[in-house]
Symmetry: C2
Subunit: 448 residues, 2 copies
């Protein structure tokens, strides 16, 4: 039996082999670079990738391990980082020519935490323009004529194509869950405020989340455990005990989980194969799955989300609008113009409704459900590279800041992946991953 | 030597006598009620006062003390409470006919804390309409032809007239410091977020502060110590160790304090007798007082404050505007109309500037100053009851959330009080009171 190509290993498996001396970080990074050279011409996942710099980090990780000093949980693991997340040693261009050549002075808090855990920052992955809708160059690894989704396009595609085992993205509407679903990988957007956003292009304090892409749930948990925590630069984070993501993920649920199948008020947008996949899933879960109609106020959340996103993006991108709006896409310029017209009363009303909606979901979860089951996107990745697809099935969970994970459990009529999204109670992130693992093992019949 | 009328005692002195068995709560409350019957026809400080209910609370306090159970620091002390602060046992009408007869189901957090410390909630003091500018019925105890200031008109006047030793008010622009100055009492507005606002008519989360009126600094400290702390209903409060206001107040400053005399960009509005009083004060302080020009961005704070106040009041009073704006004063209606037009980008910009301005003040304090010395108001209480006077010398300290205290140390040409305002570093509230005590003893030559 020959060893598999190291680029196909999960991060957790690679970390085990490195701990046991069966694999070096340099070999792992070399395998990922080889895979990247092979796939990148078609996929175009990277905005910046310096092979020599990646190798140097890998050698440093190997030396660190040989020194006998304690090695971090991610020692030698290559990670892709979305190009709106600051890195002190690489450019961070935010997907706009206005920031071309920009090299930050400091790492974002999440990058600093990855490095502290020993990770190799492989490079910067393609983002849409300012993480909004105007697409970058990336294509879907399953079919280059289809979008990878966005805005974390490169992170989703790089993980799906085997160029890195894990990558970071961000979500303000559907920018982690949607590309993960379109590219057929796991995507996780934890509870709002759990992972600090310090040093990341700010679009919306209320809606911005950091998310994680991986090919296994164990890898999601491995990375999440390193990123969660308080940071003085992010006023929405709180001092808290470390969340034992990996330990909780490995537990068996005390009872078989109950799922609330939520079609949302936008079910009409779901494609036939998505509807069919969810009908089959619900049938397979039997009594463990009940269709649940949302309380009426949830229907307004899409409008409230838009009001907040437009107003906060207009505020945060005011400098770009003032000094270079002729260099922005029509899509982004139109958003900023709408945002500049939003009234403060409408904005505050939209903010004020978050808490009551979250509390209504708390009741739903406390009644009897472990997770909400809902599509990650209306269908498979749409054909064409001019659009990154529709975030409509992510909006409500971004607005409320609830933890969400998408699982690559289904397939469309065209053979492209369909994501199954699970949403958990706010603050119950590790349990959501445990429920997700249960579902993956039940449906796919193999360890997640 | 005959005992003084108990209504003239400070709260701290009355508490001492009650602890020593020289005075009962019932006697104290009875003396305050007698003083109230005498002064109220002229002053009109009370919106609601039920003598029997006050007496019943006093008797309960006396019984509690006799029982031998530990008695709170305010056991038996009568407190006036501004009529926008909810009380479960008395109406809270917020100064508008729209809320006539409103009786809340729960005490505001500060009222619950007063009761837990044993205080007698004497009654509800007159507020302007929704704590904005339209005056209530209260008159200045020093001269009934003059305004007491607002919006905490009744609380300032009741303390000044000897009807209660201490009272609570609120400040969103200048509603604690200005009436305290006009009525010749101490007024204290602590750092934003130090005292919870749960159960108080919300005008502006960013700007609303609870404040305290008293006739001595010791009483300010006594009450502040009971009110400070985290409350789950106020997201701007934080869990923190109890602030030892009384102990710090009693300390000698390690060095003679340095004062930064700040005229603000609005010095042109200061009346001749105010200018003269501050020139004399600065001269008396000699090398301990330096005139300081503010950094340029501070000049915009008045506009930013107005933007935030208008936008947040329009949000918080949206129901009143929708359902009863014909019953609001022209002043308030015009404010709400302006607030409804504020753009979310302007609102967010005004919010975003608070932190940099606070940090500039932090530098100023760290350089060499213990407190900023500045007027509490342009002059003495203006003649007439149609206006509550000009809050311009309070606005900057409300916008920044810095702690501020006004000291009744000067007198105008008309014999009415002039307040000397001291402003401290954000979060250094107890030290500000210690500096204030030093100044009072230096200027007035007697214990504060």
């Amino acid at each position: 039996m020959s060893l598999p190509d190291a680029s196909t290993l999960s991060a957790a498996e690679a970390a085990r082999r490195m701990r046991e001396g069966l694999l070096s970080a340099e070999e792992l990074v070399e395998a990922c670079l080889a895979r990247t050279r092979e796939a990148e011409p078609q996929v175009q996942a990277w905005q910046f990738l310096d092979e020599a710099h990646a190798r140097a980090q890998a050698r440093a990780a190997d030396e660190h391990r040989r020194s006998g000093e304690p090695a971090g949980a991610l020692c030698g693991i290559p990670v892709g980082v979305k190009d709106i997340i600051d890195t002190a040693d690489m450019p961070t261009e935010n997907g706009t020519v206005l920031h071309a050549g920009r090299t930050p002075r400091r790492d974002a808090a999440v990058v600093a935490r990855l490095r502290a855990a020993g990770a190799v920052i492989m490079g910067k992955t393609v983002t849409t323009e300012c993480a909004y809708f105007h697409p970058g160059k990336t294509r879907n690894p399953h079919n280059p004529a289809h979008t990878p989704g966005g805005s974390s396009s490169g992170s989703a595609a790089a993980v799906a194509a085997g160029m890195v085992p894990v990558a970071l993205g961000t979500q303000t509407s559907g920018s982690v869950i949607r590309p993960a679903a379109f590219c057929g990988v796991y995507g996780f957007k934890p509870t709002h405020g759990l992972i600090p956003r310090t040093g990341i292009l700010a679009l919306s304090r209320t809606l911005d989340h950091v998310g994680i892409f991986a090919r296994t749930l164990e890898d999601i948990a491995l990375v999440a455990e390193e990123l969660v925590g308080w940071d003085e630069g992010d006023p929405d984070t709180r001092p808290r005990a470390r969340v034992p993501f990996r330990a909780v993920l490995a537990e068996e649920p005390p009872l078989a989980p109950m799922f609330a199948f939520v079609k949302t008020p936008h079910w009409a947008r779901a494609a036939p194969d998505t509807r069919e996949a969810f009908a089959e899933l619900a049938a397979e879960l039997g009594a463990q799955c009940e269709e649940v109609e949302l309380f009426p106020s949830a229907a307004d959340a899409w409008d409230w989300h838009r009001t907040i996103m437009e107003a906060e993006m207009a505020h945060n991108l005011e400098r770009e609008w003032r000094t270079g709006r002729d260099k922005l896409s029509e899509t982004l310029r139109a958003l900023l113009e709408r945002g500049r017209e939003v009234r403060a009363v409408d904005y505050q009303r939209a903010l004020a409704m978050i808490l009551p909606v979250v509390e209504s979901f708390d009741e739903l979860f406390m009644q009897r459900y472990d997770a909400i089951l809902t599509p990650a996107a209306p269908g498979t990745a749409p054909e064409g590279l001019g659009s990154t697809g529709d975030p409509v099935f992510c909006t409500l969970w971004t607005y409320t800041g609830l933890p969400a994970v998408t699982l690559p459990l289904a397939q469309g009529a065209n053979g492209l992946p369909i994501g199954v999204q699970l949403v958990g109670r706010r603050g119950f992130d590790a349990r959501l991953l445990r429920t997700a693992r249960w579902l993956v093992e039940k449906i796919a019949g193999k360890p997640a």
